[in-house]
């Protein structure tokens, strides 16, 4: 027993403490509880991993039976294997850095204790998600992080856009969760258990499905769940809106950890997907399409957080592409490096926003490298990492994915390379717009405090050097490496694409600042199409949301509820009143008439008696 349960228990205790008494506690106490619980959690992770050593086998701890019904036994079981170990380290370390950063970022905000309580709750659910040893416990964490995401997106609940964004995230996720739930049902139906160990062992014994079968269906339904949580086509629309939440939330939940839950889940279910190549192909296609589409939309956004949000969607698409190409370890590798550099990008953006007292529009920034040098340097580290400049972290993981994609289908590689170029372009566009040129806003920018810049520095180091954590090698026992020669040419091409993207951004936004506007004017409708995100939100609204809402209000509300149910109730009441107004004439208050009715009744009884006699 290594007491794995302590890992999620620390943040839970932090949540309870801050949630219950945080309102009266001082900020220092809230900080101590929130940060302390995550530190303890991280330390316990390190201790556990040190004790487990090379982790040749999955370490499972079974605590108690959650519930049992017929053949179904669901236990509160936690497990650690190599994949979980990676996730635990990423979640707790990045989570800790963002917690620390949030002290500075949230210092002027109301609801300070509430923020940290939710943050700790999120850590609890996220750790539960990655440590769960069966599908249902994973689903608890899965739903829990969704709940925290909802709560934190709507953190500024007085702002209408924030609450609607929270609702949108919750509802869109619900669609995906529906698929996940169905998949869990099917898994129980097919394997008679929900334990990862049992299910995967049973799945390993099955033949590879060449045509669509049960495993393919399960895989597709799980993909629906993953697409909801990890913002893939067609359910990605909630993530850009989720930027309404405070920036540390965007960094922790909507960039580094929660949105990667879908990637983790598909990697976890690799034994199922390996035997359902059709589902795996769909994963790759969805990932690639998302990566390309989101990168294109990211080109024209003016809100710095929206740029990074679409970038997140795009990078998640990359991870799905990796998974779908059969290179699970490459997908997880990108998950890790992405957690570093995307958290850094968001925290850097938060630092910029903090410096500009809430300004998020890139058009009103500029020249900030003089005012906020630390933020500038760290964000530059993240930018080179995400753009795939060797030898920084993004280069290694993206390269692994692209190589796997090339092995899977060469055209996917080329689409991926193009996306890499776009990625480099839009990230550097944001950097150049914000930090170069001259300042275009009305505020007085100032550098953020040390409590914010220190996590930035730490993440910058991780972003630069994260590529040398050889995650694929570590995961080899679980996910055998995809065969295929390491083709140096493919690497050069992708690096060239990244360099092209950066150069183009430099040309358009630093060297010839008017060029971008002229180009946008020249392209006209195309630019507007991209600027308005391909009108996906509007299409969804027209095609799905409005028919659903109006159908509900016309049929379900006015028709069924008001008409049928209320009508039935009212009619019953009215009929009873009508009947009563007739029947009350009998209640004359006259004893003699009552006696007459009694007599009439006894006559009927006697008549029945006589008739029954006669019938006999």
């Amino acid at each position: 027993m290594l007491h794995l349960w302590l890992i999620p228990a620390f943040p839970l205790a932090g949540f309870l403490a801050n949630g219950l008494v945080g309102r009266r506690a001082s900020k220092a106490a809230v900080n101590l509880i929130a940060i302390g619980s995550v530190v303890l959690s991280l330390l316990w992770v390190l201790k556990t991993l040190a004790a487990l050593g090379p982790l040749e086998h999955t370490h499972i701890e079974r605590y108690f039976t959650w519930f049992q019904s017929g053949d179904l036994r669901v236990g509160f079981d936690l497990a650690v294997d190599r994949l979980t170990a990676v996730m635990l380290l990423v979640v707790t370390s990045v989570g800790l850095l963002i917690h620390i950063y949030a002290i500075g970022y949230m210092s002027h905000e109301g609801g300070y204790y509430r923020f940290f309580a939710y943050f700790n709750l999120f850590m609890f659910f996220m750790l539960l998600l990655v440590m769960a040893a069966n599908f249902l416990l994973m689903f608890v964490g899965w739903e829990g992080v969704g709940l925290c995401s909802y709560l934190l997106i709507g953190f500024y609940f007085l702002r209408h856009s924030a609450t609607t964004a929270g609702n949108k995230a919750f509802i869109v996720n619900r669609i995906g969760d529906y698929g996940f739930t169905l998949a869990v049902f099917l898994i129980f139906l097919g394997f008679g258990s929900l334990d990862f160990e049992t299910v995967f062992a049973a799945a390993a014994g099955r033949p590879v499905e060449t045509s669509a079968g049960a495993l393919t269906l399960i895989g597709l339904l799980l993909l629906a769940g993953a697409a909801g949580k990890s913002a893939q086509i067609p359910l990605y629309v909630w993530l850009p809106d989720a930027m309404e939440g405070p920036t540390p939330v965007s960094a922790l939940i909507h960039a580094a950890t929660m949105v990667t839950a879908g990637v983790y889940m598909i990697a976890r279910c690799a034994p199922l997907y390996t035997r359902a190549p059709l589902a795996l192909d769909v994963v790759a296609l969805v990932g690639l399409a998302t990566a390309v589409l989101a990168a294109i939309i990211g080109l024209a956004q003016t809100d710095i957080k929206k740029v990074f949000a679409y970038s997140t969607v795009s990078q998640l698409g990359y991870m799905f592409l990796g998974l779908g190409s059969g290179a699970y370890s490459a997908g997880i590798f990108h998950l890790v490096t992405h957690a570093f550099f995307k958290a850094l990008l968001f925290l850097g953006a938060g630092s910029v926003i903090h410096a500009l007292s809430g300004e998020q529009d890139l058009r009103r920034m500029g020249g900030l490298r003089k005012h906020t040098p630390v933020t500038f340097v760290t964000i530059l580290c993240a930018a080179v990492a995400i753009a795939g400049v060797p030898p920084f972290s993004g280069f290694h993981s993206k390269d692994a994915i692209l190589l796997a994609a090339h092995h899977h289908a060469p055209w996917m590689y080329w689409a991926g390379v193009a996306t890499a170029g776009l990625t480099a372009f839009y990230v550097f566009r944001a950097v150049f717009l914000a930090f170069f040129g001259t300042y275009r806003g009305p505020h007085h920018p100032h550098e953020s405090p040390a409590v914010m810049t220190l996590p930035l520095a730490a993440l910058a180091l991780l972003s630069l050097a994260g590529g040398y954590f050889n995650v694929p090698r570590w995961l080899e026992p679980m996910f055998p490496p995809a065969e295929g020669a390491h083709d140096a040419l493919l690497v050069y091409i992708s690096v060239a694409a990244a360099a092209a993207g950066i150069s183009l951004a430099w040309l358009m936004y630093v060297a010839r600042p008017g060029l971008a506007d002229r180009l946008a004017g020249r392209l006209g409708w195309l630019y507007r199409l991209v600027y308005n995100k391909f009108f996906v939100d509007e299409i969804y609204d027209r095609a799905l949301v409005r028919p659903c809402v109006e159908g509900s209000s016309a049929v379900l509300w006015r028709g069924v509820d008001a008409g049928l149910i209320d009508g039935a109730v009212n009619q019953v009441g009215m009929k009873a009143r009508d009947a009563g107004s007739v029947l009350r004439l009998i209640q004359s208050g006259s004893i003699r008439s009552y006696a007459a009715w009694v007599l009439w009744g006894s006559v009927l009884a006697l008549a029945a008696l006589v008739l029954s006699r006669g019938a006999r």
Partner: protein, 167 residues
């Protein structure tokens, strides 16, 4: 002999009962009821119910009717006035009554087409000895229950009939 006895007292009973229904003054009704009860007591004797016949005279004709007459005197009841009419009682009650009686007749006729005849001395089980034995053995529990019932009735009657504090 038995037939004469039965017919005599049956006619008296029915006549008194008709009088009870028709008389408008309560005291006349009460006297008629006493007549019905007395004739019934004779018929009980005819059927061999000695104890019941005695109880009929003592309890019913004696105690209960005295109570009635006492209340009539106490309230100084007058002949009833014609107040209100119950259409239901008239148009449903009276036809129902006719139907009721004829149905009962049909039933009795159907169930006892050639029943045995009752004559004096045909049944001698109704002595106080026999009744008392059964009363204190098989019907002991109901008997005790009635004593409780009577006690409750007495308490209730006293409470209901007491003078209000303010009067």
């Amino acid at each position: 002999m038995d037939l004469v006895l039965f017919l005599t007292f049956a006619i008296v009973a029915v006549g008194c009962a008709v009088n009870l229904v028709l008389q408008r003054h309560p005291i006349s009704a009460a006297i008629s009821l006493i007549g019905v009860m007395a004739s019934l007591a004779v018929l009980y004797l005819l059927l061999g119910a000695e104890f019941i016949a005695a109880a009929q005279v003592i309890v019913y004709a004696g105690a209960i009717m005295v109570l009635f007459v006492f209340v009539i005197m106490l309230l100084n009841a007058e002949a009833e006035r014609k107040t209100g009419r119950s259409l239901v009682a008239r148009y449903i009650g009276i036809p129902s009554l006719v139907l009721f009686l004829s149905l009962l007749g049909v039933l009795i006729h159907a169930l006892y087409p050639s029943a045995e005849r009752a004559s004096f001395g045909g049944f001698t089980g109704g002595t106080p000895q026999n009744v008392g034995r059964l009363l204190f053995t098989r019907y002991l529990l109901p008997f005790e229950a009635t004593s409780a019932l009577i006690l409750i009735a007495i308490v209730g009657a006293v409470w209901l009939a007491r003078k209000e504090a303010g009067e």
